[in-house]
Amino acid sequence: MVTQETLPAPGLMAEEYVPDGLFDDAPAIKDAPVTGHWFPIRLTPDLATGEMFNVGVGFIDDTGQLHTKLLENANAFKCIYGQAGQENFNFLLTIIKQHFSQVNVPISPSPHIRLGPQAFVSGSHPESIIKNLYDTMVSLRCDDESSSVAASQIAISTETVRKRLFGLMKKEAPKIYERLHRETPVRLFDKQQNPLLLDLPIWNEHPDLYHSKGTRFGTIVSAHYRDKVYRNYNLDGGSLNILNAAMILSEKNVEGGLFILRPAEGTTGYDSQMITAVENDIDRAVWAVQQRKNVKVIVSPDVHRLMHASLELAS
């Protein structure tokens, strides 16, 4: 039974000191050559509400030189304030950039721009200091490059997922890749000796290769489609191939896997309603597979995770 603490209350007769030698064996790191103080640069669009957005950062190095980095544009404000608001804030950002480049003091020329409290920072040079702080402090970046990258992630085909997964496997575990990866369909025979051609890109039937001495089989499919028809076509196809294989391979120590790529929360093009629809379709498609004791179902937005799970089949 745990007893009550009987020590003096914290703060009484307590000495505060650092134990000797705690960092004696810490790896040697040099002091950063550039030091100074940084501050956030904040925009208050509406002086009545006082709402603030980080639009940039400033850094005063120890020589007194002021460095600043501000948002490239005010595109992010268009949604909230419309076209006119975007244009006004673009104008304001331009003026502020010019002001700081001409005036080497951290004083704002506008009641809409406020400078936050200063704090210590150091680094290898002012540009890297400013870049790291800007990346941390400023979220309102909205440019064409990031939206086109996001668009390319909306649908990821089963073929693409398999290419990525097996590419990773070949790099990380080439011997297992050679053992497990199959490019052509597998021909199995059901109880009536009817042939079935099954899409099982993970396959090995050599009984001595695995600890538990049984066939290994599996498939990888993508649920990363906004279109329900494509999504269910891939999910149902994968599940059916696995179920057929599991039913035919009746020996004791077989092990199978169904590996499904799903969209991550927050992926562009997948709002919460779409995510729920994807999850429901996955649940429906895998239910029968999950009843099989010798088959595992792994669902993840991360191809690396799926790859490592498929490597476990080779143990």
Binding site: M1, E16, F23, A26, P27, A32, W38, S272
Partner: protein, 284 residues
């Protein structure tokens, strides 16, 4: 074990790169928390949450509790921050520390005797990822979402093993729908503070398990109990992967009690399946 081979690295004060923000807006800043940037020996530039614990004649176990919790989390693959490290914090680099801390705060006393203080640091999960700290509330929607978290049984089994007695909801980070990570292992054994003594270490005790309590009222579904028992059977093998490093830290931070705490942890690791069976009355 070489320093760079450790899971938990050390960063001496030259590796402190900058102060970013205070984040401890509650509880009188008893354990000051802030975000700072560092030069990590393996990862390079890194931003992390930093927590400062008082020493209290060696009786405050905050640092050793955090290190224990993080190492176990790593071994048991419970989702948690990617990196944890011990950093030597230059106190004069912390913004407005005099104004931030109330009068009589222990750190004011420390400032009189030393320029630096060890901080337990864990890399950020929030920020641009838009992960959020879970609100400390019993609202049903929160409980329901956590209950559906796939790694919940794993986290509960870990907390049972290490006697984590303080895993309330705001010691979770929400990464996404039904997806969480654990943070803050400052309180093991004693739910009232970071201070425990050897007479509180009972390998067979059922310490408070708040995740189990708040999510399931200690009545999880049968298949969940089976899943936890299944995880528990792997704890010993997982412990073997961190044993050497854990012993290193315990000897360093608990010069007098490392053997007792080590024995406590390894006994509980061996018997965690039994502890779970006892808690959930699944004795057959």
């Amino acid at each position: 074990m070489t320093t760079t081979g450790r899971i938990i690295q050390k960063i001496a004060s030259p590796g402190f790169r900058g102060f970013i923000a205070w984040t401890d807006e509650d509880d009188g800043h008893q354990n000051p928390v802030f975000i700072a940037s560092f030069e990590h020996p393996v990862e390079g530039y890194i931003e992390a949450y930093v927590k400062l614990y008082p020493h209290q004649n060696g009786l405050n176990r905050g640092l050793v509790n955090e290190i224990t919790g993080y190492l176990y989390g790593h071994a048991l693959q419970v989702p948690q921050p990617d990196h944890a490290f011990l950093a030597e914090i230059p106190l004069n680099r912390l913004r407005n520390i005099d104004q931030h801390l109330p009068t009589g705060h222990w750190l004011h006393g420390a400032l009189k005797t030393t320029n630096t203080w060890p901080g337990f640091c864990s890399s950020r999960l929030d920020g641009k990822s838009a992960a959020v700290h879970v609100p400390d509330t019993e609202i049903y929607a929160v409980r329901e979402d956590i209950a559906a978290w796939g790694d919940l049984p794993r986290a509960v089994a870990m907390d049972e093993n290490i006697a984590h007695v303080d895993r309330h909801f705001n010691n979770l980070i929400r990464l996404g729908r039904k997806k969480y990570a654990v943070i803050d292992n400052g309180r093991l054994v004693n739910g009232n503070s970071e201070r425990w003594t050897c007479d509180m270490l009972d390998p067979s005790a059922l310490y408070r398990n708040r995740l189990s309590e708040h999510v399931w009222a200690h009545r999880p579904a049968d298949e969940t109990i089976s899943a936890m028992i299944d995880f528990a059977q792997r704890h010993q093998a997982a412990f073997a992967t961190i044993k050497q490093e854990l012993e290193y830290w315990l000897r360093l931070l608990l010069p007098k009690e490392h053997a007792d705490f080590n024995s406590f942890l390894s006994s509980r690791t061996e018997s965690v399946e039994w502890l779970l069976r006892k808690r959930y009355q699944r004795l057959v």
